[in-house]
Symmetry: C2
Subunit: 162 residues, 2 copies
């Protein structure tokens, strides 16, 4: 198991993954792991993955929901503090898993900050060409240096709200 | 306030609304109202709306999350019992509200059953042409008779899981 990437594989998941993994780990709680998504079309996009296997959200127990609610608060507060997005999109889709003949969906949430005005980070401009509409499954990679900086920035900010 | 439609307005919300409302009320709990969405491109599409005004999910309290978790269980079990969808998509987007100059987003979840194989209801065939991919914001209306029957069927099934 790759410690950095949590060992998850969700090949070609629309919003989060480009190389068959959820991304680099930001934080881990008792029931969930927060990853920085490989695709940063929407700056600050993260994935929140359940640490045990569940096919559907109906299988979650009360403690997992309670902790998820706390994670939502931490993530929205942290992202708002650093980049001031206009709103946050949350989704649990799992569609990509069903492109295979033998689907093995895993519970993971897409956390997608959305921006009315462009935001700059490390000299890179992030527009949100789809603002006011559903997020598009279009991959945007940034340099590994920019990803590392972003990871540290978001991690440090999230740690302040735990 | 319109009792049937809960008095909500979310004009042109991508997945749920075609006439500026969330739909016909199926069930009401202490903190949430479940509506049958006006658009039935994906058979059984519902909206789960918070009964108080919140702009972002970070404002939800523990009791609201706990009750939401129970609602998720009721809805997935009920829909699976009647139409056997392959999976369920959940999202809290609020994008449409931001198309206006003075956005007033409300917390509402889109619950979208997805189907690998076509399903028939009252002689109408429902395909899922986007199966394996994100749900498309394309409106599909069905007759008011079919909507009324669907409402009763889902309501009756959900009541068995409360």
């Amino acid at each position: 198991m790759n410690e950095l990437y949590g060992g998850f594989t969700t090949k070609e998941c629309e919003y989060c993954s480009i190389e068959g993994f959820y991304g680099q780990k930001i934080l881990e709680t008792e029931y969930w792991i927060i990853f920085l998504a490989p695709s940063q079309r929407y700056l600050g996009t993260c994935v929140v993955a359940l640490k045990r296997h569940c096919r559907d959200l109906m299988e979650l127990n009360g403690e997992e929901w309670e902790e998820f609610g706390k994670i939502v608060k931490i993530m929205e507060k942290a992202l708002f503090a650093v980049f001031k997005p206009s709103l946050f999109n949350w989704s649990c889709f799992k569609n990509a898993a069903f492109r295979s003949e033998n689907p093995k969906p895993e519970i993971h949430w897409h956390f997608i900050p959305r921006y009315k005005v462009p935001v700059k980070y490390k000299g890179i401009t992030f527009e949100d060409p789809d603002f006011g509409h559903i997020p598009q499954p279009v991959t945007r990679e940034i340099s590994s240096e920019a990803m590392d900086g972003l990871l540290k920035l978001i991690k440090s900010e999230m740690n302040q709200y735990i």
